[in-house]
Amino acid sequence: MTNMEKNVHSSVLVVGGGIAGIQASLELADLGHKVYLLDESTSIGGSMAQLDKIFPINDCSICTLMDKLTQVSQHPNIKVLTNAEIEGLQGEAGDFEVTVLRRARYVDEEKCNGCGACVEKCPVEVPDEFNMRLSKRKSIYIKYPQAFPVTYAIDMNSCTKCGACVEVCEYDAINLNETEKRLTLKVSSIVLALGFSPFDPKLKTEYGYGRFPNVVNSLEFERILSDYGPYNGTLLRPYDQRIPRKIAFIQCVGSRDAQLGNIYCSSVCCMYAIKEAIAAKERDPTVQCTIFYMDIRTSGKDYELYYEQAKKKYGVRFVRSRVASVDEAPDTHNLLLKYVVDEEPRTEEFDLVVLSTGMCPPKNVERLAKILGINLNKYGFCMTKTFSPIETSKPGIFVCGAFARPKDIPETVTQASGVVIKTARINTSESCKQAPVQPQVERDLSQEEPRIGVFLCHCGVNISNVVNMNELAEYAGKLPNVVLVEHFLYACSRHSRNKIAEKIREQGLNRIVIGGCTPRTHEDLFLEVMQEAGLNVYLLEIANLREQCAWTHLEQPEKATEKAKSLVQLAVAKAKLLTPVLKPAVDVIPTALVVGGGLAGMTAALELANQGFEVHLVEKSGELGGHLRNIHYVLGEENPQEELKHIISKVSSSPNIHVYLNSEVVAISGHVGNFQTLLKHKDGAKEIRHGVVILATGALEYNPTEYLYGQSSKVITQRELEQKLAKGEFNAKSVVMIQCVGARTNDNPNCSRICCGHSVKNALKIKELSPETEVYVFYKDIRTFGFYEDYYRKASEKGVTFICYEDEHKPSVSLEHGELKVVAWEPVVKQWFSLQPDLVVLNAATVANTDNRNFAEMLGIPLTQDGFFLETKMELSHVDTPRAGVFICGLAHSPKFIEETITQAYAAAAHAAEILSKSRLEIEGTVAVINEDLCSGCRICENLCEYGAIKMREENERLVAYVVEALCKSCGVCGAACPTNAINLNYFTTEQILAQIKAALVE
């Protein structure tokens, strides 16, 4: 690293502004890198902006995304380049020079403030691609209401250059003759987050998409469901905008289809179809939803529960049959689907058909790949390897998100975090980072009376067209403690902001009220002003006059003016009581504790060590490696034992890593930045102090009690088979494999994700070593998602026979005169038949490590029902826990493949490094504060706090509560519950809120 450092720029280019690109950019920027976030579209957000809810939690997609968009918009280190594409690349890792073409947008990003006046005037209407052409937009448009940048754009394909928009734009933002521009970026690394393009179902003519209006694709259905979609969230079908009574979902459209050449599985469509069916059911429980599938692939964490819930709670019907064709009834425009159940062909009528269209590589990616010099796989996705899952074939260029392989959002976000640890040159010395805006020395206000300045924004005419600004200003001027009122056409413009700072200094203002648009998007701009003017940032209050007043009372200017006065009064009342808040900070010990010396733990440890941090790696057993020690082949070319040796040698030789074998964690205390851990090993105990914890405790193989396991040496587990194969001890002529042993059962409802791939892998190995051996695989669903489908097909091609079983028809294994006999039901031939294999191989489930419970208790973090660690937000990142500074990765989180384990370990390392890289950790000032005099020691707050931020201590022989500021997330739940009002929340104090209430209600 050191010899490279000379050329290292601290800039990174992220290509693709979907959730993958956004997440990677935010994390890189937080680490102090300058980030260029480039997207070919007019707005960032990618596909996620189009989704209604997101599985597995069914959160609102746009809410989740908007949170991130806001962060991007406010991050000083991120430069967003929309309408842009890469034209050329020069140089090498650490020193790239990228030529970027920016196509004309025709609207100036600096000037346009998103008022939308132009849209009303534009006479040209065209289909809105964002709403999948189910509604219309104008030639000048913004992609979606919440889009970032909040700048309109003109679509020159339809624009008539009539100039109406130019005329109406108060801010002179439109230039119909704008031309494209080129720029050159110098960056040290590039992250590709190009996402996917949806499969075009027109290519599957038998489903009638494009011919029959009531056949829609899944993204269209997402838009139909969306509250800001073409039908405002009412469930309607396109042809007659009638509520559909019966909806069919057809799976694998454009995936797992050799006729189309898309052989891989798109991995997400089973889950999203279930989600969409649930959403339809939630809108109207009488709607009947049927999902037609070949295999249901819900192998993510707790996804099987989601599937079960769809069946049991929502009554979604699942039919195992690929739909052969869709026809339309000419009179009703209903659709007739042909499928087969129990080997009986059927035709059934539906009012709406949703095609679960798969993910294809991003459009025109071959061209970009050529420019960048990276390899694509045979399907056009980015080529990666098992043991280097985020590296492209070119050093310095990394990949994350759906472009690496079709995947869902949580996996995407995890991978985006993972990329960061490889991309970033994290350096504990602050100098190499782009410093965020340095806070000015704050003025001491302790002796000052409140002197409030009120700054009112017309927002062009957005506010002033409705609210009488003069009247408002006059009113504000009379409010107590207000010493200055000013108007601005655009308060947020750079010019105005300078003016505000000037006024603050000039007039000695010490509390600021802005009357303008919502604080959710613009607060940070004004916080900067405060800092520049030397005021504590908590002395600002914003009255939301645009989104929550002018725009919602367009026809009632007088009442809107009254309301605006009231809103300003409310803000002034709070402002008067605002006090400076110091952001608490904790010292960070730049050392990590990693628990578990399997692949996950070692990978995370190595990455942190590479970044220069000290790591304590604690392994319970006598050897490093965990399950990887038993894996001799992978579905790919690498040799896992070689890789393992390599990793272990790197770990052992790293001066930054202390390995403790045969050791266990006895106790952990403390908080982020400063934990104390007690280790026990055979020579005694040891105490370690560290800033973060990474839990990589792995998982266990289920010990089967089924199918004569343990009673006959001819019944073995898949792992044992792999040992035999590797040691050359395999000699069976007929093998039966049974899937889902101990998984997807009542006791352990979840899917173990890896075992289908494991069987396919070993079956292929058998066929390689002994082609004449017959292999039968009994499965419930074959879950070879993503590119693993290739190997499933390869196994079929080699003659491995896959036979589906249902719980009612499980195969039975018995011994007759010492010989194995398997009796099973074949559902297509509809016959029982028997086999006499030499070996029965059980795919034992992967179950949670029982040690997890101890860690959960010691650290106060939750577990899933089946005992895996539970992350904070299952629909986003996989690595964070509710406990600040504690991260999870690998099998300890849920069953996963090697490449996924590595990716997640990278992500955990990245999140850990973000903390470790800071010598002091600044914490939001809006934390809870406890007045110890008032506290009665009832412990109510302690129990309520989800983050374990409240602790109790003895004080003068009295139990009192205190807040661990590093853990508090500012929800205020404790404050609302404290019976003695001992708790307050900075910036949202009880007194301030009461003052707001009173102000709101004065006559």
Binding site: T518, N544, I993, A1000
Partner: protein
């Protein structure tokens, strides 16, 4: 006060992440609703102390709206919305004991994409409160 042109006053405590954003979206989408509500932003619906509700009613609010994120897990703080919900149920009982119609207090889950829902809730509240008439506490205060 004449019942005919009675304009109820509503205090809305909206959580920053969902309901407040939903109210913003109503504006962005130019959805119109009556101007009777005053919104106070809190980080989480779980921050709403019963005291705030009581003070609002005592000071003459005709209705109070608490807006949070959809359960089970839209809540930015995992479960603040549940806590608000439990508290609201209790509080409604308390209000009834004071002779205040529990319908004056309303809790709603409004996501950042539900601008129309926010507007609808405000409209509904205004209509219902018009039917209920002014807050009885206000009348007794006035009587004093």
């Amino acid at each position: 006060m004449e019942p005919g042109n009675f304009e109820p006053k509503i205090i809305g405590f909206l959580c920053n992440w969902c309901a407040y954003a939903g109210a913003d979206l109503a504006g962005i989408s130019r959805i119109q609703y009556p101007p009777n509500i005053r919104i106070i932003r809190v980080m989480c619906s779980g921050r709403v102390d019963p005291l705030f509700v009581l003070e609002a009613l005592k000071n003459g609010a005709d209705g109070v709206l608490i807006g949070g994120c959809h359960p089970p897990s839209d809540c930015h703080y995992l479960s603040g919305n549940f806590k608000a919900w439990r508290r609201t149920l209790l509080l409604k009982r308390v209000l009834a004991q004071f002779g205040i119609e529990p319908e004056r207090l309303r809790i709603e889950w409004i996501s950042a994409s539900e601008g129309d829902k926010f507007a609808r809730v405000v409209k509904e509240m205004v209509e219902e409160l018009k039917k209920l008439g002014p807050n009885p506490l206000k009348l007794t205060e006035e009587a004093k």
